[in-house]
């Protein structure tokens, strides 16, 4: 039961990265692909319909963490206190950027929210990557099962490390590159005109750096986290997850070259899913590994009482069927290509 919820939880988070990654990636590129007000309106319009449901994956994933692994929620959110508060500010900045920008037709008003949206999206990607890096590297849990990380110490990976060290910064940069690539493929598939051409150029240009930095991050992860090596040694077949991520990434490149823009974007989403499943698999059975492996928090230890997990399954399954329906409806109603045109 705990294992099932472990995968549900990671699945929800991965869905946030794949769906929410669209509008985060678009936000990172917002000031680059759109050089004037009309073009920036165009990029916002391409995500306006979907960004809210996308972001709900984060809230719903947080809800699943609360109901299934309350100890994980309590330990990690309070331990990452300052980073979480930063993330909240960034979520406020980009949400208001998207929603308020179009409310007043004034160039200064729009410039302000354009920059707010872009900067907070970029920093949010860094934070999400750094968060993943912390989970992979392990946190300084003590004997009583709590920890508190400052934002940074001396950037070395040690026992009393901060939220940002060289490894988590590396994963943070990886996240920025990966989501920018993801967002560029989205814009390439769902916009037309100059914005689409620029996005296509960026997606092509980012591909090689993305491959390099992914390899760096994956190598560093397996060096820093012994559990990954142990899991791979115990289940060699699991190598299909990183291989799957790699082949989906290659597929996105090939598909884009053949002009199949939508499929290229979907392949990028698949590679993100596979990469996150690979990370989750490497860390299992830990939901929060510790720098001292003996103190790590496992799924079983972090899980809610069995009755709670059982009862939650009764509503979660029909709930997700409804969610799938909403997503199908919202995405099927997307205009095929957003052009530089008048307001909504």
């Amino acid at each position: 039961m705990q294992t099932l919820w472990f995968w549900i939880f990671w699945g929800m988070l991965a869905s946030f990265v794949v769906f929410g990654g669209i509008d985060i990636g678009v936000g990172i590129l917002h000031l680059i692909v759109g050089r004037n007000e009309a073009q920036r309106t165009q990029t916002i319009r391409s995500i306006h319909q979907v960004w809210k449901p996308n972001e709900v994956w984060l809230v719903a994933g947080g809800g699943v963490m609360f109901v299934a692994f309350p100890l994980l929620l309590a330990t990690s959110l309070s331990g990452f206190y300052l980073a979480i508060m930063l993330v909240l500010w960034l979520l406020i900045g980009r949400g208001l950027g998207i929603e308020l920008r179009g409310r007043i037709a004034d160039p200064m008003w729009r410039q302000f929210w354009d920059v707010a949206f872009c900067v907070s999206s970029g920093l949010l990607a860094v934070c999400l990557g750094a968060a993943l890096g912390n989970f992979v590297r392990g946190v300084p849990l003590d004997q009583t099962g709590v920890f508190f990380e400052p934002l940074w110490t001396d950037f070395r990976v040690r026992s009393d490390t901060g939220i940002l060290d060289w490894f988590t910064v590396l994963v943070g940069v990886t996240a920025v590159v990966a989501l920018a690539h993801h967002g560029a493929l989205w814009l390439n598939a769902f916009t037309e005109g100059v914005v689409q051409e620029r996005s296509a150029r960026i997606a092509r240009w980012l591909w090689m750096p993305l491959v390099v930095i992914l390899i760096l991050a994956a190598t560093a992860s397996s060096i820093l986290q012994p559990q990954i090596r142990m899991n791979v040694a115990a289940h060699p077949w699991a190598i299909i997850f990183p291989l799957g991520a790699a082949s989906a990434l290659i597929a996105s490149r090939v598909l884009m070259r053949n002009g199949r823009d939508l499929q290229a974007f979907i392949a990028s989403g698949a590679s993100l899913y596979a990469a996150l499943v690979a990370a989750a698999f490497g860390l299992h059975p830990y939901v929060l590994p510790a720098r001292n492996p003996a103190l790590g928090l496992t799924a079983i230890a972090a899980a809610a009482p069995r009755e709670s997990l059982q009862l939650a399954l009764y509503w979660w399954i029909p709930g997700m069927l409804l969610v799938a329906g909403y997503f199908f409806y919202v995405y099927s109603k997307l205009p095929p290509k957003v052009s530089v045109a008048e307001e909504e």
Binding site: P53, V56, V67, A74, I92, E307, W316, K333
Partner: protein, 457 residues
């Protein structure tokens, strides 16, 4: 209560009070927009213009509610980790259900309500307004349900390791506390939205602008506002008060300013509690009324605050007393204003009665105060418990998050929310100042024209 616990409480209280400005507008407004869209579907074009106008306000307010709401959910983990670790298996259920059943629904269909009228057609647009209304009210239920479990825990058991396990999902979801509290809270949101509708309508009428839509907003605001204001007192307010008396007699005594046990207790209308001496300065009381309202007998006994052990009493009695009396006092004033408005609407004078329009325009901020004061009554009165009679607030906060970090984030949120208040106010004044878009059928918006087309709907 130690200082750290108080600081964590203040952070939550501040951020949730600011947050609740927005959902009370959106939940109430979602109902009004649904009503207006239903009129529009029967051919009332003025109502349709009102829908287009109010969806702009709904969109901005909704965005504010979303971005200020996410910090609330995260604070359970960041600032209340010991509470979350113990009770997550129960309150995590309702919070996760809110995300799954309500947020996805609202997030998916709000866009279509705001921008999808042309694409979906009139019936589709009406359906979107229904789904947004349903989703936002469902969201409200899950939140109230979470709070109700903390006020009146049901369907749980405490395991040997002190964690709390849920034993019955249906008991959690049909907690009688939740049903009563929900009815009162939702009526409160409708009061806020209908006062807002009446305010904007009055403002435009006083300036003789956008007359047709303004009359529609004003009349709807007054009719719905009257019903909601009345329902806030009877039956919902009465039920909540009786429920508090039955299950939380300490809170009841403290919020009423009832210090000493009496047969035939008086109802305090005005007065300032002196908690040190357990007396009330400058009291204005109605003898026997408190006993009558709780027991339907003028002489029955009501236990006073002094007769409860000190470690069971709320720590902030004076703010609790004032928040309750401000809520109840404002609620009475709302009934008076809306009765007067309704009387004048019925007599056909409302649209020209400038003093009445001024009152309705200036009254709009007060429902926000009443709603916040109501929540403060519920939450201050719950102290010293975070889960009533199960877990103390002092045992719930994150002990390893230092007070310096809590101060840091609280000051940050105060600054950010001050900025957001300006932004919101600025955008609102622009939308309200611009008013609804002109009538597409080229009818001029004048009184004369309205008389001529008045029969249309």
């Amino acid at each position: 209560m130690d200082f750290a616990a108080l600081l964590h409480r203040r952070l939550f209280a501040f951020t949730v009070s600011f947050h609740y400005i927005f959902p009370q507008i959106t939940m109430g407004l979602a109902l009004l927009i649904f009503l207006m869209k239903s009129m529009a579907l029967r051919g009332d074009e003025t109502a349709n213009r009102a829908v287009r106008f109010w969806t702009k306000i709904l969109g901005v307010t909704f965005a504010m509610g979303v971005v200020t709401g996410i910090p609330m959910e995260f604070q359970f983990g960041t600032n209340w980790s010991r509470f979350s670790a113990a009770a997550g298996g129960v309150i995590g259920q309702t919070l996760a259900m809110e995300g799954t059943f309500a947020f996805f629904l609202e997030a998916a269909f709000l866009y279509f309500l705001l921008y999808g009228e042309k694409r979906l057609g009139q019936r589709g647009h009406w359906a979107a307004s229904l789904l947004v209304f349903f989703g936002s009210w469902l969201s409200g239920y899950f939140i109230v349900c979470t709070n109700a479990w903390m006020q009146h825990p049901v369907g749980y058991e405490i395991l040997p390791d002190h964690r709390i396990a849920l034993t019955s999902l249906s008991a959690l979801l049909t907690n009688r506390w939740a049903l009563v509290q929900y009815s009162h809270v939702m009526v409160g949101t409708v009061i806020t939205a209908s006062f807002l509708a009446a305010c904007v309508g009055s403002y435009h009428l006083l300036r003789n602008e956008h007359v047709a839509v303004a009359r529609k907003c004003l009349s709807l605001g007054v009719i719905v506002g009257f019903i909601a204001s009345a329902m806030a007192a009877v039956p919902t307010g009465d039920l909540v008060a009786k429920q508090v008396y039955k299950y939380q007699p300490v809170k009841f005594a403290a919020m009423e300013g009832h210090f000493h046990t009496e047969d035939g207790a008086a109802m305090v209308l005005i007065g300032q509690p002196d908690v040190e001496t357990m007396t009330l300065d400058n009291p204005v009381k109605i003898p026997g009324l408190l006993s009558f309202l709780t027991h339907q007998r003028w002489t029955s006994r009501i236990v006073g605050l002094a007769d409860f052990p000190p470690d069971q009493r709320p720590d902030l009695v004076a703010p609790l007393y004032f928040s309750y009396h401000i809520m109840a006092g404002l609620g009475t004033i709302f009934i008076a204003i809306m009765s007067l408005g309704l009387l004048n609407l019925w007599r056909g004078k409302l649209y020209r009665q400038r003093w009445m329009l001024w009152i309705l325009m200036l009254a709009a901020p007060f429902p926000f105060i009443a709603n916040t004061a109501g929540w403060m009554t519920a939450e201050l009165g719950r102290q010293p418990w975070i889960i009533y009679n199960v877990m103390r607030t002092a045992d719930g906060y994150s002990r390893h998050v230092s007070t310096g970090n809590v101060w840091f984030t609280m000051l940050g949120f105060m600054g950010l929310y001050l900025f957001l208040s300006f932004v919101y106010f600025f955008v609102m004044t622009r939308i309200i100042g611009a008013g609804p878009e002109p009538d597409p059928s080229h009818e001029t918006d004048t009184d004369l024209e309205l008389v001529l087309v008045g029969g249309r709907g």
